[in-house]
């Protein structure tokens, strides 16, 4: 009966195999060993163009994301445009270069006198590039990206995921290319990118370095990788795509992370916290839920920016006493968060956020994009104010106030 069915409907089988096999045979995909996958890019300024360095993975049978036989290599090429550089690298390696898995781009400080939003045009224009590629900056992008080989392979090829986790835990910033370019066209024209700083640890490695003029190739078979991405890297500030300065001190960077609404969790060490019977304690405060809101109004021809930061699901997970003080039994509970401690924590968070705002204001950067909020939610006031003022005047006139509210502790 089955045979009879197939004899009668042989076209069904033909159609099935045609649909399954036809796309594969026509897509002319390169063979696996003829491809290199670009997972990271470093871009520096070069004479008459750019120096593009690609972090690549050459897939081979049995390759896995967590190790296996995949190898990280670095190739460089000088070119007039960035995409030309990628094509040059592919041509010089004799392989097909795929950029669909591009995970991060490191921009060198040599590019800071250029409009970075414009330089990254290929990311949004080229169809196969992921527009959610992570942006990072470094003093020397080529040298910094090479340090990536000191990291675990999983971290090296999935840098974006690493920074997403860091951001969620309030110690990193995830700025994707799409957002960075889009920010240029907003009223605040301000954007930020995290620095990539990899601290080198000791490692056993077997390096094989080949270099020639205009291009270098380095391969390493590293057994033990001890490189680490720096905790709380500085943050570069941009206006209209141009570099203006950076948040460098721990307080400034912390202030940004406290006010970053994408950072949902907070585990932070605070100093000089006074309990009833113990002064100058060091405490680790944990909050599992953070909510940030902002309201901007124009009153007396001055912008008033009111930021509210609410921290809930809180607990104190560490108290280091000084001066041989002791705590009462109830004070040792991690859910014990008295009002006086809360207000001290609130004050420290508030002062850090204000410090961040002031520093950015001096660079002409509207770090919290308050200007966009004003346009979105109070268009009439926005239009009236910006009829006679510009962004610099807006920032100079701005009265910034932060209200931090730490809820009582919960388990």
């Amino acid at each position: 009966m089955i045979m009879r069915f197939f004899k009668k409907h042989i076209w069904l089988l033909v159609a099935f195999f045609a649909i399954v096999l036809f796309p594969q045979s026509l897509s002319l995909q390169s063979k696996l060993d003829g491809r290199i996958i670009i997972t990271g890019l470093a871009i520096d300024k070069a004479e008459n163009g750019f120096l593009v360095t690609a972090q690549t993975i050459s897939p081979s049978s049995g390759s896995t994301i967590n190790g296996g036989q995949a190898e990280i290599s670095f190739f460089s090429a000088q070119s007039t445009t960035i995409h030309e550089g990628i094509k040059k690298i592919a041509a010089e390696t004799g392989k097909e270069a795929g950029i669909a898995h591009l995970n991060y781009i490191v921009l060198g400080s040599s590019l800071f006198d250029l409009d970075l939003a414009n330089i990254l045009d290929f990311v949004v224009r080229e169809e196969h590039t992921d527009t959610t590629v992570l942006l990072l900056v470094a003093d020397n992008a080529k040298e910094e990206i090479k340090k990536v080989k000191n990291l675990e392979l999983g971290t090296a090829v999935a840098m974006r995921k690493t920074f997403l986790t860091k951001q969620n835990q309030s110690n990193g910033l995830l700025m994707i290319a799409n957002q960075f370019i889009s920010n240029k066209f907003n009223p605040s024209c301000s954007s930020i990118i995290s620095y990539l700083e990899i601290e080198n640890g000791e490692q056993e490695q077997n390096s094989d370095v080949n270099s020639k003029e205009g291009q270098s190739s380095e391969q390493s078979n590293t057994n033990v990788k001890k490189g680490r991405i720096k905790y709380m890297s500085p943050i570069a500030l941009f206006r209209n795509g141009y570099y203006k300065g950076k948040l460098q001190t721990a307080d400034e960077v912390a202030g940004f992370h406290f006010a970053n609404k994408h950072a949902k969790q907070l585990v932070w060490g605070f100093e000089n916290i006074n309990y009833k019977n113990a002064e100058g304690c060091k405490v680790t405060f944990q909050s599992k839920k953070k909510k940030v809101s902002m309201k901007i109004t124009i009153t007396d021809d001055k912008p008033h920016i009111n930021m509210n930061v609410t921290l809930s699901n809180n607990s104190i997970i560490e108290i280091i006493l000084s001066n041989n003080d002791t705590l009462w039994t109830y004070e040792t509970q991690k859910t014990y968060l008295p009002k006086e401690v809360r207000s001290q924590l609130e004050e420290q968070i508030k002062s850090n956020i204000i410090k961040t705002f002031q520093t950015c204001k001096n660079y002409g950067i509207d770090i919290f994009n308050s200007c966009n909020k004003l346009e979105q939610f109070n268009k009439s006031q926005f239009d009236a104010y910006f009829k006679n003022h510009n962004l610099d005047q807006y920032l100079n006139d701005a009265i910034f106030d932060v209200n931090v509210k730490i809820d009582t502790a919960t388990t």
């Binding site: 045609a18 649909i19 036809f22 796309p23 026509l26 897509s27 002319l28 995909q29 390169s30 994301i65 795929g98 669909a100 898995h101 949004v124 224009r125 169809e127 196969h128 992921d130 527009t131 959610t132 090829v157 999935a158 974006r160 995921k161 997403l164 986790t165 995830l174 994707i176 799409n178 370019i181 889009s182 240029k184 066209f185 907003n186 909020k373 346009e375 979105q376 939610f377 268009k379 926005f382």
Partner: protein, 394 residues
């Protein structure tokens, strides 16, 4: 000819509404209105709904016959042929929209090195098969695929919505009449899918036709508006860039994943709707040309698909060329079919509703013939009521 059920009609209308607007339209709309494109869609709902009501009134006036049949009987065959040619041309033009969407999706998003000239043959074979076969078969296919298309569309939105910053669509701005009319001219390739309903007239069982069609039209329109709002919220100032909105909208949802674009499984489900819509429009066009010229459906389908192949691969090699053509040459024709033709038909049908047929339309042949002797086209030209009468007589 087997009629569509009301459910099939509702499903097909919903699928055509959604699957034609999920590719290029949000980006083109953004070129005209920035992130206020969704307001344009809201505004365009008003005239669309009014015309839809007129089309539904036409369906009452035709009393179960197709518009071609009614025009032949009461106004004259030349007018009926002109009507069929216009509708045939209109849907021939409309095919290009979902087909270019399929083209861009496979060439730009899925494969990085696809020979579309050969790959498109698969779709064209499928389209010619759908065009040459009856509407009922497409309706059945729609019923089967509707579950997957719905799951795909809801899944895509579920992935996209958490990544959207809805404040990005603010501030909203008032669209002037001049802007509105210019937008209408630019977006003729996508809007006014209610003309599908005009074609359904006389081909769908009447039971609850009006209410369910209206509801499905409104719900699918609102779903597309929400899709556009989500798209603009995600892409903000860069909304003009993505060519295939349905695959671009989920790009941000997988930041934490190293699994690649697993969301494309959902996107492929939705793309099945685009293939079905292309086939449906091809069927409309094929049937209309068949009515007007009396060529066999299969030969019309072959010509139609060959035409589509030439159009897609040699004339409109990229969407920009098609959009330029749509804007400069086709927009007035499409606006006429969308908004003027239903009005004209309504007025004509109201005027002739009490008029006797121009020629005697016998419910059964004068010479006594068996069923098998009847030519198929003669049988097809009988209305459902007449065919029932024949059965009773026999």
């Amino acid at each position: 000819m087997k009629e569509l059920t009301t459910r099939q009609a509702v499903i097909l209308l919903t699928i055509t509404q959604i699957s034609t607007k999920i590719h290029r339209m949000p980006a083109v709309l953004s070129q005209e209105f920035a992130n206020n494109g969704w307001i344009y869609l809201m505004l365009s709902l008003i005239p669309d709904l009014l015309i839809l009501l007129i089309v539904l009134r036409i369906s009452v006036l035709t009393k179960g016959r197709t518009i071609y049949q009614v025009l032949s009987m009461k106004v004259g065959k030349p007018i009926a042929i002109i009507y069929s040619l216009i509708i045939g041309l209109f849907f021939l033009y409309k095919i290009t929209t979902p087909f270019k969407g399929i083209h861009e999706f496979f060439v730009s998003a899925v494969f990085d090195n696809l020979e579309w000239k050969y790959f498109s043959v698969i779709f064209l074979l499928l389209i010619s098969f759908m065009a040459a076969n009856g509407l009922y078969r497409i309706g059945r296919t729609g019923e089967v695929l509707s579950f997957f298309i719905l799951i795909g569309f809801i899944g895509v939105l579920a992935l996209a919505v958490p990544t959207a910053r809805f404040s990005n669509i603010l501030p909203t701005e008032i669209i002037s009449f001049k802007q509105y009319s210019m937008g209408g001219k630019t977006l003729t390739a996508w809007l006014a899918d209610f003309i599908t309903v005009l074609y359904f007239v006389g081909r769908v069982k009447e039971n609850k036709f009006k209410l369910s069609i209206s509801i499905s039209f409104i719900i699918s329109s609102l779903a597309i508006i929400f899709f556009c709002i989500t798209f603009y919220s995600i892409y903000d100032n860069l909304s003009t860039y993505p060519n295939v909105a349905i695959s671009a909208i989920t790009e941000f949802s997988l930041l934490s994943s190293n699994l690649g674009r697993i969301d494309w499984i959902l996107v492929l489900f939705v793309m099945a709707g685009s293939v079905l819509t292309t086939g449906l429009y091809a069927q409309f066009s094929c049937e209309s040309f068949h009515e007007a010229t009396k060529f066999s459906k299969k030969s019309v389908a072959v010509f139609l698909v060959a035409f589509l192949y030439i159009i897609d691969n040699y004339i409109f090699t990229d969407s920009e060329k098609f959009l330029n053509f749509a804007f400069i040459y086709a927009s007035w024709f499409v606006l006429f079919v969308n908004y003027v033709l239903p009005l004209m038909l309504w007025i004509i049908l109201e005027l002739v509703k009490n008029k006797n047929p121009k020629y005697a339309y016998y419910p059964y042949p004068i010479r006594k013939k068996s069923y098998s002797e009847l030519k198929l086209k003669q049988w097809n030209s009988l209305t459902p009521k007449q065919t029932n009468k024949r059965r009773l007589i026999k």
